[in-house]
Symmetry: C2
Subunit: 84 residues, 2 copies
């Protein structure tokens, strides 16, 4: 595996796990007033389409990364809807 | 252009523009208390690495989409640092 591939894996890992701190923060504080409902609605839709795209093109890394992102983003969206 | 490519473009457009509603909301309310500093710090780092990856692999759509994402995510990060 060359350096460029490793850079791509690192980039993908960071953008995927970046949603974890927001999920943890919202879970702990039960406050999501300043979080945008629009952002997480559009994001979940887009990420779900990325998973569909990954399935159609049989791109396993794309499916894996976006599945983790969707789980985290959907959790944040659910808390936003719950806590307002 | 086939349906699968169009699906990928739609997915990329949605995940990219999803950050706009959060930027607009934070800009208008000047409140970012419930927004995670960790999320936007890690996200900006990851997206900057995606742009670097795109430059190294000469992938123009990847550079374009991630540049828009970085501009929006960095704006949200700056407001989070400013407003607390």
């Amino acid at each position: 595996m060359n350096e460029v591939t490793l850079l791509g894996i690192l980039a993908g890992t960071l953008t995927t796990i970046s949603f974890a701190p927001q999920a943890v923060k919202s879970w702990r504080t039960r406050r999501t007033k300043d979080v945008s409902l629009g952002m997480f609605s559009i994001l979940c839709t887009g990420v779900a389409l990325w998973i569909t795209y990954g399935v159609l093109t049989r791109d396993f890394p794309l499916i894996l990364a976006n599945s983790v992102t969707l789980a985290l983003a959907f959790l944040i969206l659910a808390m936003k809807i719950r806590y307002g």
